[in-house]
C-alpha cells in the first residue's frame, strides 16, 4: 500500500532553513506598494522558525490577488479556482495529516463565491490554516465592491454607493463554529508573524483575518487604525489572561456589561479591576463574538490578536480513527470477503 502520509521519516531532524529557502524563483507580481508583499514577507520569515519541512508544506489558494501567493512560496502549492480552496484543502488535509496545509484567500474569494466552503471547513474543524486577506474590495477584477466593503461604498460597480451590509469576517467565522479565530494587519510584521505562528500551532481549522491595504483600488481603508500614528489608540491588542487595555499609557480599556455587551471605556473612570480579562479558551464563543463586533469598522478602536483558541476534535484525525476502529474490529479489508458479503451461490 502506498502510504505517503507515513512516508516521512520523523527521525531526521528538520534542517535549518532561511527565508530564501522558502521563496520560489517566481517574480512577485502584485502592484508596487500592495499590502500583500508584507504578508508574504511575514510568512516567508516565519517559516524557518516553525521547524517545518518545505516538502511537507502546501499552500492552496483560489482566485484573486491574494491567490497568487502559492506561486511565491518554494513549497508544494496549488492555485485553484474561485472560492474553492477550502474544499480542495479539506480533501488534502484529511488524506494527508502529515502535511501543513495553508489556505490563502481574500474577501471576495472566501466570503462571496466561496462562502459555503469556508464556513463548512471551519465547522468541520479541518486541520488547515486559513489566511484571509481582507482589503474590502475586488482587486484582480479592478475595483468592484466586495462582501466586506462598507455600506455606501462607491466603486466601479456601485457608482451610487453600495447598498449591502458587509460581513464581519470574524463574527462569521465564530458563528461557523471556528475553533481558532484571530485578526492581524499588514503594517505590523511582528504581530502578523506571532498570529500566524499561533494559527499554525492550532490543531484544526485556524482562521486569520488580515487587514490588507489595496493601494490601487481601496487605498488607506485601514490607515485610520493601522497607520503608525493611529495604532496606539485605535488597535486593541488581545492578550490571553490580561485585562484588555490600550493607549500609550494603557488609559483605554474594554469592559463587559451585564447585558453581555462590551464597550471601550477610560480606565481612569472605572478602575483597572473593571476591565474585561481576555480568555481565548472560553468554550462559549459569545464573548469573542462581542469582541469581534466591538468596532463597527476600521475607523473605531479595533481588537487584534487571537479572539478564540479552543480545542475541538480535528476532522481528519477523527476520520482516520474511524478507519482504524473499523480495521481493528473487522481486520484489514479483504476483497474476496467483500464480494461475498451478500448471499452468493455457486454454479457448478
Amino acid at each position: 500500500m502506498t502510504d505517503l502520509a507515513n512516508a516521512e521519516s520523523t527521525e531526521v531532524p528538520v534542517p535549518p532553513t532561511t527565508r530564501k529557502d522558502w521563496s520560489s524563483n517566481q517574480e512577485v507580481r502584485w502592484c508596487p506598494g500592495c499590502g500583500d508583499y508584507s504578508i508574504l514577507a511575514a510568512v516567508q520569515m516565519l517559516m524557518p522558525d516553525l521547524g517545518v519541512r518545505r516538502e511537507s508544506t502546501v499552500f492552496l489558494s483560489g482566485i484573486g490577488c491574494a491567490a497568487r501567493f502559492p506561486y511565491y512560496m518554494n513549497t508544494y502549492g496549488m492555485h485553484s479556482i474561485h472560492g474553492r480552496a477550502p474544499a480542495i484543502a479539506t480533501g488534502l488535509a484529511t488524506t494527508r495529516p502529515d502535511l501543513d496545509v495553508w489556505v490563502v484567500t481574500g474577501d471576495g474569494d472566501s466570503l462571496s463565491i466561496g462562502g459555503n466552503h469556508l464556513i463548512h471547513a471551519l465547522r468541520r474543524n479541518v486541520d488547515i490554516t486559513i489566511l484571509l486577506f481582507n482589503n474590502q474590495i475586488y482587486g484582480l477584477t479592478k475595483g468592484q465592491y466586495s462582501p466586506t466593503s462598507e455600506v455606501a461604498k462607491v466603486t466601479k460597480s456601485t457608482p451610487f454607493g453600495s447598498l449591502e451590509q458587509p460581513f464581519n469576517p470574524l463574527s462569521l467565522a465564530l458563528g461557523a463554529e471556528a475553533s481558532f479565530v484571530a485578526r492581524t494587519h499588514d503594517m505590523d510584521r511582528k504581530h502578523m508573524m506571532e498570529t500566524f505562528r499561533r494559527a499554525h500551532a492550532h490543531r484544526g481549522a485556524s482562521f486569520v483575518e488580515i487587514y490588507q491595504n489595496c493601494n490601487v483600488f481601496n487605498d488607506g481603508a485601514f490607515e485610520g487604525i493601522t497607520g503608525k500614528d493611529h495604532r496606539v489608540d485605535m488597535l486593541i491588542p488581545l492578550v490571553h489572561g490580561e485585562p484588555i487595555r490600550f493607549g500609550a499609557e494603557g488609559e483605554h480599556g474594554v469592559v463587559l456589561h451585564r447585558d453581555g455587551s462590551v464597550e471601550v471605556v477610560e480606565v481612569a473612570d472605572l478602575g483597572e479591576l473593571a476591565l474585561l480579562v481576555h480568555d481565548e479558551h472560553r468554550e462559549n464563543p459569545g464573548l469573542a463574538f462581542q469582541l469581534s463586533r466591538l468596532s463597527r469598522g476600521p475607523h473605531e478602536p479595533t481588537p487584534i490578536g487571537v479572539f478564540r483558541d479552543v480545542e475541538r476534535p480535528e476532522y481528519g484525525a477523527q476520520m482516520a480513527q474511524q478507519i482504524e476502529e473499523a480495521t481493528d474490529r473487522r481486520g484489514k479489508g479483504d476483497l474476496d470477503a467483500l464480494l461475498r458479503s451478500g448471499s452468493s451461490w455457486t454454479v457448478e
Binding site: T2, E55, H79, G91, H117, V347
Partner: protein, 647 residues
C-alpha cells in the same frame, strides 16, 4: 422445495416469467421484489430487475402518484432485460392496477389485493366503477385475494395490533408468489428472522403473513397450478446478485486495493447516485474515506485535493451535480491529476425525473466545460459491468493523469443481475508511478523537477504528491508553460499545451480494446449503442436473428476516445442504427467523427427500451436495405426516427 406439504396441484415448467409487484410507496413493494429476486438468484435463475418508484418520498397513499413497482424477470436461460411485458401483475390497490395496466399484455395474470378495492381507494385512483366488477379486465385472468384480511386474521392471536398486522400484507403477497413459482421458502424465512430479530412482533407478523400467503396458494381453489422455472445454465463460478451502484462502489474499492492508492470519495447526496456513498461508507476497513460535502462543488473539490495529495480521488453525482462540477473538472484537466467522476444519469433537464432513467448526459460529459477540455469517458452497460468500467476508469485516470467520467444511469444503478465474481488477479494493473526525483536539468546544470515534463508514450505528466524533498512545485488553473509548468500567457505555448492535452486523451484509443462486434457473416445492418441500452439491444438482435435475419451488434464502453478501429467497423455496414435513451447523442458524435449516416432511434420516457420496439426498429433497417432505400430521412436531413414512431 419446502417440506411443508405435498403439492396436490398440477405443476408446470416455464422457461421464463416476468412478475411485476405494484403497490403504494408505503406497501413495501421494493422489498418484496428484492426478496423474490434474492430467492430466485439463489435458486439459480438468470434474472434482471427493474425497480420503478416515484420521486416523492410519500405521495398521498392510494394515489397514482404514489405507486411503486418492482419488475423482475426470471429465467432458465441467459437473459438481458427485465422483460417488456409482465406475465403477472401483483396489484396491492386500485392505483397500482391502473398505473400498470397499460404495459400488461392481454392474457396476463393479475393478482389483486381485493380488500383494497373499496370506494375510497377506487376514488383515489380515479376509478368511477370497480374494475373488478365492471368487466374492464375481461382480457386478463384476475385472481382476487383478500390479502389484508387474511394477514390481519392470522396475526390476531400473536399480539399484533390489526393496524400493524396490515403492514405485513406484502409478505403475504411474497408468500403467495413464492408458492406460485415454487420458490424455496427457507431463504425468506431465515431472512425475516434475521432482519427483524430486534422487533419480535414485526418478525412474527411477517412470518405469519408470508406462510399464510404460501399456504393460501396451495389450498385455495383459486390457482389451478403452480409453476417452476429451472435454474439457468450459467457459466460455472460463484455468483452474487448485484446492483449497478454496489458494483460501482466495489469497483472503486478493488481499484484502490489494486493500485495501493487510498480511496477518497467526496460527494453530495443525489438520486440515484447516493447508494454509492452509502455502500462505500460501510467499508472503512479498506482505508476508504467518504466525505459528504456541503455541496457538489466541494465534493469534487475535496476529491481533487485528495488526488493532489496522492489519493484515489472520486466524486459521484447525477446530472444536476455534473453541471456544478464542470468548473472543477476543467481545473483537474488543467492540473492533469487523476480523478474519477461517476455520473449516474437521470431524466433532465434541471431536476427532471430524479428516479427515472435517461442517458442524456453524454454530450455534457463530452463537451460540458469551457475551453478545450477533453477527458476520457467510459460507460457501463449492465449493473455488474459497473464494476469493470469503474476499474477501467481508475486505470485511465491514474495512467494518463486525467479526470475520467464514468456514465451509469438510474436503470443500472438500481437494477440487478447475477454477477459471476471475477478473479481479482485478472484485474488490470494500476501503477501510480509517483515521481521520485528530478526530471530536468536547468540552464545552470542543476537537476530540477518540472511538473509538466511528459512521458513520451502516454504524454502523461509526473504525479508528484507533496512530501518528497526536491519535488516542491506549484500548479494551478492558469495556463502553464510546457515543461516547467510555470504560469505562461504566451499564445504559442497555449496552442501547444491545448494540443498536447488533446493528444494525450486521443492517444488512449491505442490503449483500449478494439470495437467488440457481435457479428454474423454478411450482416448489412449494425446496431451500435452505449450504456444501459445493452440488454434491450441484445434482446432485439436476438429476436431478429431468431426470425432468420442477419444483424450485428456493437456496444461501446469507451466513448472518448472511441476505439481506434471504430471508423473502419462502421464503414463495413450499409446501415448503422443507434438506439439511445436521449434524442440522439452518440449518433451525433458518430456522424461528426466518421461522416457516417448514423440512424438515430430514440425514446425518453424514463424507462429502458422494450425488446419489441428494438426488434421493430432493426427490422425496418433490414427491410430498408433489402428495398434499396436510403436511411430514414428525418428532420433537416438528420435521420431521427423516434422510438414511439416505430412502435
Amino acid at each position: 422445495m419446502s417440506d411443508t406439504t405435498t403439492d396436490p396441484k398440477p405443476h408446470q415448467q416455464l422457461h421464463r416469467v416476468v412478475i411485476r409487484f405494484a403497490g403504494d410507496s408505503g406497501d413495501g413493494m421494493q422489498l418484496t421484489g428484492d426478496r423474490f429476486t434474492t430467492t430466485s438468484a439463489l435458486w439459480g435463475n438468470d434474472l434482471a430487475t427493474f425497480p420503478d418508484f416515484p420521486a416523492e418520498i410519500r405521495a398521498p397513499a392510494g394515489t397514482l402518484a404514489g405507486v411503486s413497482a418492482f419488475q423482475v424477470h426470471i429465467s432458465d436461460h441467459d437473459i438481458s432485460t427485465p422483460g417488456d411485458s409482465p406475465n403477472v401483475l401483483v396489484a396491492m390497490n386500485p392505483a397500482a392496477l391502473k398505473a400498470n395496466l397499460a404495459i400488461l399484455p392481454k392474457g396476463a395474470a393479475i393478482i389483486v389485493n381485493v380488500d383494497a378495492f373499496e370506494e375510497r381507494n377506487l376514488a383515489k385512483a380515479d376509478y368511477e366503477t370497480n374494475p373488478l366488477e365492471d368487466g374492464s379486465l375481461s382480457a386478463y385472468t384476475v385472481y382476487e385475494v383478500p390479502m389484508t384480511s387474511i394477514t390481519t386474521e392470522v396475526c390476531k392471536d400473536a399480539g399484533v395490533k390489526p393496524r400493524d398486522a396490515e403492514r405485513s400484507k406484502n409478505f403475504f403477497a411474497l408468500g403467495l408468489i413464492s408458492w406460485l413459482y415454487t420458490r424455496p421458502i427457507e431463504v425468506t424465512i431465515g431472512w425475516i428472522g434475521e432482519k427483524y430479530a430486534g422487533k419480535p412482533l414485526v418478525m412474527e407478523a411477517n412470518l405469519r403473513a408470508f406462510k399464510a400467503g404460501y399456504h393460501f396458494g396451495e389450498t385455495a381453489e383459486l390457482f389451478e397450478s403452480s409453476y417452476g422455472v429451472k435454474p439457468a445454465v450459467l457459466e460455472p463460478g460463484e455468483y452474487v446478485n448485484i446492483t449497478g451502484n454496489t458494483a460501482t462502489a466495489w469497483g472503486l474499492i478493488a481499484a484502490s486495493v489494486r493500485s495501493g492508492l487510498p480511496l477518497f470519495l467526496g460527494t453530495y447526496p443525489i438520486t440515484p447516485a447516493s447508494d454509492i456513498l452509502h455502500e462505500l461508507s460501510k467499508h472503512k476497513q479498506f482505508g476508504v474515506r467518504t466525505f459528504q460535502a456541503e455541496d457538489e462543488i466541494s465534493g469534487i473539490g475535496a476529491a481533487l485535493g485528495a488526488a493532489f495529495g496522492g489519493a484515489l480521488g472520486v466524486t459521484t453525482t447525477s446530472g444536476p451535480g455534473l453541471d456544478l462540477k464542470s468548473e472543477m473538472m476543467g481545473l483537474a484537466i488543467s492540473l492533469e491529476l487523476p480523478l474519477v467522476i461517476i455520473d449516474v444519469q437521470r431524466g433532465g433537464p434541471s431536476t427532471g425525473l430524479p428516479t427515472k432513467t435517461e442517458q442524456a448526459d453524454l454530450l455534457h460529459a463530452m463537451y460540458g466545460r469551457h475551453g478545450e477540455a477533453p477527458l476520457p469517458i467510459v460507460a457501463a452497460r449492465t449493473p455488474s459491468h459497473c464494476f469493470e468500467v469503474t476499474v477501467e476508469a481508475v486505470r485511465l485516470a491514474v495512467k494518463y493523469r486525467t479526470p475520467v467520467i464514468v456514465l451509469s444511469d438510474g436503470y443500472l444503478a438500481n437494477g440487478t443481475e447475477p454477477w459471476r465474481l471475477p478473479d481479482m488477479d485478472g484485474l488490470p494493473t494500476i501503477e501510480p508511478d509517483f515521481a521520485a526525483g528530478p526530471n530536468h536539468t536547468d540552464a545552470d546544470g542543476q537537476a530540477v523537477f518540472w511538473p509538466y515534463v511528459r512521458d513520451e508514450q502516454t504524454l502523461a505528466r509526473p504525479w508528484a504528491p507533496p512530501g518528497v524533498p526536491g519535488l516542491e512545485h506549484r500548479i494551478g488553473g492558469l495556463e502553464k508553460a510546457d515543461g516547467s509548468g510555470n504560469v505562461s500567457y504566451d499564445g504559442v505555448n497555449h496552442e501547444k499545451m491545448t494540443r498536447l492535452r488533446a493528444a494525450k486523451i486521443a492517444g488512449i484509443a491505442h490503449d483500449i480494446p478494439p470495437t467488440d462486434v457481435d457479428g454474423e457473416d454478411g450482416a448489412e445492418v449494425l446496431v451500435i449503442g452505449w450504456g444501459s441500452t445493452y440488454g434491450a439491444i441484445a434482446a432485439g438482435v436476438e429476436r431478429i436473428r431468431a426470425r432468420g435475419y442477419k444483424v450485428d451488434q456493437a456496444h461501446l464502453v469507451h466513448l472518448n476516445p472511441f476505439p481506434a478501429d471504430l471508423g473502419k467497423v462502421l464503414g463495413r455496414y450499409r446501415r448503422v442504427l443507434v438506439p439511445e435513451v436521449n434524442t440522439g447523442q452518440l449518433s451525433r458524435l458518430l456522424r461528426a467523427e466518421y461522416l457516417v449516416d448514423a440512424i438515430s432511434f430514440t425514446q425518453v420516457e424514463g424507462v429502458p427500451f422494450r425488446a419489441e420496439a428494438m426488434e421493430a426498429a432493426i427490422l425496418r433497417q433490414i427491410e430498408g436495405v433489402a428495398a434499396g432505400s436510403p436511411g430514414d430521412p428525418g428532420v433537416d436531413g438528420m435521420a431521427t426516427s423516434h422510438g414511439k414512431a416505430s412502435d
